[in-house]
């Protein structure tokens, strides 16, 4: 299963105001406007490379909730989006 990691050698450049965050992506020079869920996923992946399932499990644990298929779908969508932007990349099979 693919593991995901942040596509940068340096730490994330991110600033948060309330529920809104802005992340500066060094590799592309672009600034992305992200919501709280996206930020949480990005920060998990920035800590260590994770599979989509691991991200999902950590979010369940963090929020103290049981299995949630909507959340899993959301994780897949967000990671796909971040991959499309070049912010995260797959790093293993």
């Amino acid at each position: 299963m693919k593991r995901w990691q942040v596509n940068s050698l340096a730490p994330l450049v991110l600033h948060t105001w309330g529920a809104v965050s802005f992340v500066y992506h060094r590799e592309s020079g672009q600034t992305h406007f992200i919501n709280a869920s996206c930020r949480q996923i990005l920060e998990l992946i920035a800590e260590q490379s994770l599979t989509t399932i691991q991200v999902h499990e950590r979010l369940l644990e963090h929020h103290g909730i049981d299995e949630d298929s909507d959340l899993q779908e959301a994780v897949i969508t967000v990671i796909r989006l971040l991959e499309g932007l070049g912010v995260v990349v797959a790093c293993g099979g």
């Binding site: 450049v13 105001w17 309330g18 802005f22 500066y24 600034t31 406007f33």
Partner: protein, 311 residues
């Protein structure tokens, strides 16, 4: 020292001397930049004397950040006598215009050059004024009344840093003044004439792509302070709406950040440092939205907001 090199201010040069200096290349300090103006005609010297008298002169050998050559239009036949052209350093025609619009095109060409070259600053398309408490930054889209508001505030106790460019430098976010003529457009001309009878307005230039324009000359005191930076304290997003009641509301910092990046000429070029400066500026200022139709009322509200921000 000869008679031509002695004066420190453009106004001190007699027209005939000014014309000779322009023919060789007249260098003036305009905020943090040295601008070299070059042109042959006596009428150009007269324009400079009338509209740029308070700019300090610098030595003819100084490096110029911007060079503007104002000359007859070389590409047209009959219109050669009624139109003029501006070239930048490469000597190619940058813009052509009717003689009557010379002042507007000198100003626009200078804007273009600074917006496209001055990447040692984080530059925002925003007016910026200052008082003893710090700088007030006014980012706005064209038509929002930014220049008119700056023109009014300039005559009501605020110092003009610029009606168009907010130039920020270094981690301390010092705002560098770039004081210039303020181009008032269409109805704003009469509004300022009425509210500020002492305002020094150049003859209106009709038929430009922005309508009729009249340039307001900043009083001497604003140009004398062109080396004094200011610390950002307040950011207001102004919006003029005819007949609107005064309305002020705090702006969300995230919106403020977006506005800063969208109103910047070179945010992307500045890379990660641009991001960090935009974040720091967002944190530094108190951001508000202001809708108004009455200038004195808006100015009073802005005074109060600055007092509050400084408290």
């Amino acid at each position: 020292m000869d008679e031509e090199n002695a004066p420190a201010w453009l106004r001190d040069l007699p027209i005939s001397v000014l014309q000779r200096r322009l023919q060789r290349g007249l260098r003036c300090k305009v905020g943090p930049f040295v601008v070299c103006f070059q042109g042959q005609e006596r009428s150009l010297a007269e324009r400079f004397h009338a509209h740029y008298p308070n700019y300090p002169l610098v030595d003819e050998n100084r490096f110029a950040d911007v060079k503007l050559q104002i000359r007859r239009n070389p590409t047209l036949g009959r219109q050669r006598w009624t139109t003029r052209a501006i070239s930048l350093e490469d000597g190619r025609v940058f813009t052509t215009f009717p003689v009557a619009a010379t002042l507007a095109h000198i100003e626009w060409s200078m804007n273009w050059a600074v917006a496209n070259r001055s990447h040692h600053f984080l530059s925002l398309h925003a007016g910026v004024m200052a008082n003893e408490h710090g700088a007030l930054i006014l980012p706005a889209n064209p038509g929002a009344g930014k220049s008119t508001l700056c023109a009014y505030l300039m005559h009501r106790g605020w110092r003009l840093l610029s009606d168009e460019f907010t130039l920020l430098r270094d981690a301390n976010l010092a705002v560098h003044p770039f004081p210039r003529l303020i181009p008032l457009k269409n109805r704003s001309i009469d509004v300022i004439r009425e509210l500020v009878p002492e305002a020094h307005l150049a003859p209106p230039i009709p038929g430009t792509h922005k309508g009729t324009i009249s340039h307001l000359r900043p009083p001497d005191v604003h140009l004398r302070a062109m080396h004094e930076t200011a610390v950002p304290r307040l950011m207001i997003f102004p919006k003029y709406t005819a007949g609107a009641k005064l309305s002020i509301s705090p702006a969300a910092r995230a919106d403020c950040f977006v506005q800063i990046t969208q109103n910047s000429f070179n945010y992307t070029l500045r890379g990660e440092e641009g991001f960090r400066m935009a974040v720091a500026l967002t944190e530094r200022v108190q951001p508000y939205r202001l809708e108004y139709s009455d200038l004195p009322e808006a100015a009073q509200a802005i005074d109060a907001l600055m007092q509050e921000a400084a408290a």
